[in-house]
């Protein structure tokens, strides 16, 4: 298939643009939180910690979805040069999740910051509050994926790398579940995230079935 618009190769500057764009929300929310908390600015409204934490969480999902959109996008457009950006976006998603978790730990729960909060409290959160357990599980599962994202690791793991990196589907589902369970009553926003994820995963199921049927109907080469 000819690539859409004849864009057979990566346009110049695309990589740099992606790296800069994907960093913008993180820089904004971290900067805005620090400004609002310590320098009297008012970027994030009445509760900057809550706003920063929630938005970093949502951006984790958005960037994770973007990385999951690359394969379908490649198939539809023929822009195969997009492939290598799965890693860029995947690593960014991990970074956003780490910032989300850091915000929760240090600024929201205030472990190590508040004298009224102890390890035991955080332990209770992690073990007894399912939405936190699920969120933490997603973070832990992402660590091996981030660690094995280097070229050397891909080469070393061979086939096992692909199997390991299927964990990203589990992580995405856990992330959306975490969002659902964290909202108080109005589930409209997490529903949108669930719908997007369903689309991304559904496409893969559909594509797998289609290619299976196709290979079954075409006679094997002699």
């Amino acid at each position: 298939m000819a690539p859409l618009g004849g864009v057979a190769r990566e346009p110049r500057g695309f990589s740099a643009l992606l790296i800069v764009l994907a960093a913008v929300p993180a820089v904004y929310y971290v900067g805005a939180m620090i400004g609002d908390l310590f320098f009297e600015t008012r970027f994030l409204g009445t509760r900057p910690i809550e706003a920063g934490e929630h938005n970093l969480g949502k951006w984790t999902l958005r960037i994770l979805f973007a990385s999951l959109a690359i394969t379908p996008l490649r198939r539809i457009t023929g822009w195969n040069w997009l492939a290598k950006h799965r890693r860029t976006l995947g690593l960014y998603a991990f970074g956003y999740l780490a910032l989300h978790l850091l915000t929760w730990t240090l600024l929201d729960v205030q472990l190590f910051i508040s004298e009224y909060v102890s390890w035991a409290d955080v332990q209770k959160d992690l073990l007894e509050r399912p939405y936190i357990t699920i969120g933490m599980l997603a973070f832990l599962l992402m660590i091996p994926l981030a660690v094995t994202s280097t070229k050397a690791m891909i080469a070393r793991l061979g086939k096992r790398w692909r199997v390991l990196h299927r964990l990203v589907y589990v992580i995405a589902i856990l992330g959306v579940a975490h969002f659902f369970m964290a909202v108080k009553k109005d589930i409209r926003e997490p529903l949108i995230y669930a719908a997007v994820l369903a689309l991304l995963l559904g496409w893969r199921v559909w594509e797998a079935r289609r290619s299976r049927l196709q290979s079954a109907s075409t006679p094997a080469p002699a």
């Binding site: 310590f38 409204g45 009445t46 508040s114 409290d121 959160d125 509050r129 939405y131 009553k185």
Partner: protein
């Protein structure tokens, strides 16, 4: 009920440098928080209210460092699902909300039921300015200067019959004027309730104003409940009906999620919300968490209402 001991860090202004948008008024620090036990103490500070507090009203149950929350925050960060479920939705969606004319029904087990124009409903009562702590079930809190009348005043005039045990409150039901009611976030209209003795307590207020001004629509204009020792969701907004009943009324949040929200909803640092701890809270405008106090700091005044009750079960 033992008085909550304040850790020394709370009374040293050392953490002040971390606080945002602090008020200029310095908190009276000496002898702070010493309420006259048993009675409804006027003014939390032995040294008297600060000049800023004096201009806003009489402080009730305030602790050291309880500066009134910035008006901008009080009137722009609201839970009022009738105007949307986001905290910023009410201030955006409620601006055209017309509250004149407004009628309030008083009915049920009373000798003198009535259907009042708001002005007539309010007229016989003394209007007071009171500064209260407000603790949301979501573990954030504010200090708010309310203007209002004592609910007890209204109830006494209606003369509850001997069978009356509870008071039920209902918000206006009008999806045209309250766009949030077009989405079933809760079982509309919003319903709340108090035990009659809670309703008669002198701290329980029917607020008509905040910060010395008429209540803005996002804060529950023209008439809302304020029960400072309970989580904020008990403070039902835009009230149109007050009904005295024999049975415990069902309340919106306990219908929506009975495992998370009960009828009493007393502020209690020892009883966690299933999804988060209630031991500490984030005070709006401050960075550091502060400990949540039993009955939100009003234990001396209201603790006796619940003596002998299992507060873990009656959450």
């Amino acid at each position: 009920m033992t008085r909550h001991d304040l850790p020394s860090s709370e009374i040293t202004p050392e953490s002040a440098y971390l606080d945002r948008r602090r008020f200029i008024a310095a908190a009276g620090l000496a002898g702070a928080g010493l309420l006259a036990a048993g009675s409804l103490a006027r003014g939390a500070f032995a040294s008297g209210p600060t000049p800023q507090q004096k201009s806003l009203g009489t402080p009730y149950g305030l602790q050291p460092g309880d500066d009134p929350t910035a008006e901008e925050d009080v009137t722009s960060y609201n839970n009022f699902y009738e105007f949307g479920t986001g905290k910023g939705d009410p201030v955006e969606n409620a601006q055209g909300f017309v509250t004149k004319p407004w009628t309030v029904k008083v009915e049920g087990l009373v000798k003198k039921p009535g259907n009042y124009q708001l002005e007539d409903f309010l007229k016989p009562s003394k209007v007071e300015d009171r500064i209260y702590r407000m603790r949301c079930v979501e573990a954030w809190s504010m200090v708010i200067p309310w203007r209002g009348i004592m609910l007890a005043d209204v109830l006494k005039r209606a003369e509850p019959t001997a069978g009356a045990k509870f008071v039920e409150f209902t918000t206006l039901m009008d999806p045209k004027r309250m766009p949030g009611q077009r989405y079933p976030a809760l079982d509309w209209p919003y319903n709340e309730g108090l035990r009659l003795d809670e309703a008669m307590h002198p701290l329980t207020l029917l607020a008509t104003g905040v910060y010395g001004k008429e209540l803005p629509p996002q804060n529950g204009a023209p008439l809302r409940l304020v029960v400072p020792w309970k989580y904020g969701f008990k403070g039902i907004k835009s009230i149109v009906r007050i009904r005295l009943t024999e049975k415990m009324p069902s309340t919106s949040w306990s219908i929506a999620n009975p495992g998370e929200y009960g009828f009493y909803a007393n502020v209690n640092p020892q009883v966690d919300h299933p999804r988060w701890s209630q031991a500490t809270e984030q005070r709006i405008g401050r960075f550091r968490r502060i400990p949540t106090l039993m009955f939100n700091g009003y234990a001396d005044q209201v603790g006796s209402l619940y003596s002998g009750m299992d507060l873990r079960r009656n959450y």
